[in-house]
Symmetry: C2
């Protein structure tokens, strides 16, 4: 397998983009990534577009081709990929594969979603397309319901408290204050969290990521192309995609997502690294409790201690392993198809030493993107090429 490098990145702010259509968001991010790289558009050999619900919510498919049109690319293969909330990560992994396998020398991954135009029942119905609707949807379960259940199990097994979980919310909302792309950053205290609306017991409003619009893009290149670029060299040391059960009853344990565990193991193997080598993590905190479970599944926090580490500040910048210095989904927002690529955007900025909420001496970063009830997962490890 050939080495893969990030030559350019782009992102819109995450939030409400009421005046901008979905293609325009994706084209804006993609255009920024191409321009930054200095690579000619003629050199781009493949486009992968991560998107989840443009069909039901916007009535627009063929986004991969539409976006390639807008970017002025050639008659190259353009593919929309979907794996619920992991759609962006899957697009990134396929662009990375296109380079590592030698299918082409330059590939672009773009993620996009537009969700704020629809009312809550419509958005909820669209998000529930990520569930096995025959097995689980009929029970009336929604994603907040699933993660409320995860929380209760984690609390029963490990003693995780409301206060532990609130530490995650406070940290991510505060991290987001330094991120100009974040949608819902805030100085927030435990009382405000506790006073926010109850969504699915014990999850409250501030435990849930917002509904968002946004797009992000990454231009990936071979080593030879990377050497001619002026952007700082960041290498994709591992890019892994796995699956877990689509049905809740198919999961061996709801205190863990086996797709994450498998992806993390494979990513460490591929990169020749262990969890202790990771300088910071951007992970899939769709709900506050998810960060605690994910941090354990990724092996960067010992099993059962996600709540304690959050409470003790060990996942803050300056702690043992900073988690979500970008603000994560909780503060930054979650335009579903864009999220996995937005995590790469944040990670590349960190590895360039150019993040507005910089982790000191960040040399190796990990991203984690989880879809549905754990049905799809991607884990990537990126490193400064001098690290």
């Amino acid at each position: 397998m050939r080495r893969v490098f990030v030559a350019g990145i782009g992102s819109t702010a995450f939030g409400r983009h009421s005046g901008t259509d979905i293609e325009a968001l994706a084209i804006k991010a993609g255009d920024a990534a191409i321009r930054e790289s200095g690579v000619s558009r003629k050199e781009v050999g493949a486009l992968y577009l991560g998107n989840f619900v443009a069909g039901p919510l916007v009535g627009q498919e063929v986004l991969a081709g539409l976006v390639a049109d807008g970017l002025g690319l050639g008659q190259i293969p353009c593919t929309k990929v979907e794996g619920a909330c992991a759609s962006g990560g899957i697009a990134f992994r396929h662009a990375s594969l296109a380079i590592s396998t030698g299918a082409c020398d330059v590939a672009i991954a773009v993620g996009v979603e537009k969700m704020t135009g629809a009312d809550t029942p419509t958005v909820t119905a669209a998000l529930n397309c990520a569930m096995d609707n025959r097995a689980d949807g009929v029970s009336g379960l929604t994603f907040p319901g699933l993660f409320g259940l995860v929380w209760k199990l984690h609390a029963a097994r490990y003693g995780t408290t409301r206060s532990d979980v609130s530490s995650v919310v406070r940290k991510n909302k505060a991290n987001g204050l330094r991120n100009p792309l974040a949608q819902m950053a805030a100085h927030i205290d435990d009382e405000a969290i506790l006073n926010s609306a109850l969504i699915c017991d014990p999850l409250r409003l501030f435990d849930c990521c917002p509904v968002s619009d946004g797009a992000a893009a990454v231009l990936l290149v071979s080593e030879e192309v990377a050497r001619a670029c002026s952007t700082p060299m960041v290498e994709v040391a591992a890019s892994v995609q796995t699956r877990g059960s689509a049905r809740i009853a198919g999961h061996p344990d709801l205190c863990s997502f086996d797709a994450t565990v498998a992806a993390a193991h494979a990513a460490y193997d591929m990169a020749g690294l262990s969890p202790s080598d990771i300088d910071f993590v951007e992970l899939h905190d769709c709900f506050s409790i998810a960060e605690i479970v994910d941090s354990e599944d990724l092996g960067v926090v010992p099993r059962g201690q996600g709540g304690i580490w959050a409470r003790e500040g060990r996942t803050r910048i300056g702690g043992d392993v900073p988690i979500n210095p970008s603000g994560g989904l909780l503060a930054k927002g979650h335009p579903v198809g864009a999220t996995g690529i937005g995590q790469i955007y944040e990670t590349v900025l960190q590895l360039r030493g150019a993040h507005p909420n910089q982790v000191k001496d960040a040399a190796i970063g990990l991203t984690h993107n989880l879809g549905g009830t754990g049905v799809a997962c991607t884990v990537n490890i990126l490193r400064r090429s001098d690290a």
Copy 2:
């Protein structure tokens, strides 16, 4: 690049499957492909699922993971890909890439769609997700409208007549009578075609493929795995994916789809073959006139002579180049995400000498799958491994 072989195929009938949900259709086809190959499920390293509108029509995404669950596959990467009517072809190409690049030794491509449950306005709205809805959808244009326009241009430029186009309908509907999977095969004459309802002048009802449910699957393997299989060896000699404009105004010429022309050129190059080497073609006759244009774009019929060749029977079995011996989309049906893989299913049967409407001495076959207004295209060339 490594050689890629077809080890197993499976397909449901195309038509109305009112009692069967979309996952069950896909699982049925995938299971048949795996069983036929004799390859262990544990060996499958990747799943690609082609689907277009399960989001808007069925309210179900994450189909790749759901289908892998049902097939009893491992924690492998499972990816839904979408490129409108070319979604199945794109899934096949990615499974083929997974083998040719060495990403894995066994990969499965499954295509599925379920469309008959919805009423006509709903299906039309869903199909229009394949258009650039800002640029073209607002004009009220639908796909029959587009192909009616294509027909008028072809008639004006090359003198193609109603009778020429009816020859395509008669041939494909008759071919379908020998295909047990076909939805709308018939003995039909020019008068019946002319008396069928006018859809978009000059297109009549029998010029249009039906709305269908169905699934098809192909298991692809490396040469080493293929040698251990008992199924007859069929090789993927070329698998190419291209894009064209998503907007009608972006096409240089509506008497041709440039994505098809580019894909065909690249496929012949990759296979080291020319159009005259092709023994038969399964192409994207979503409308009768499309077969005429596609046959010219693929280079198997001289430019402008698609109508004449059809009229003279040169595209029938026994003619210069049999086109759509399966009955094509017109007779077989068009469950959108399944179509591109259904074409592979038909082609493999021909190359095994086991098709119910066999082309004599078929050794090399070509498949062509076109999405949207020509925004996405795949062309594959398959050959008997002794050819």
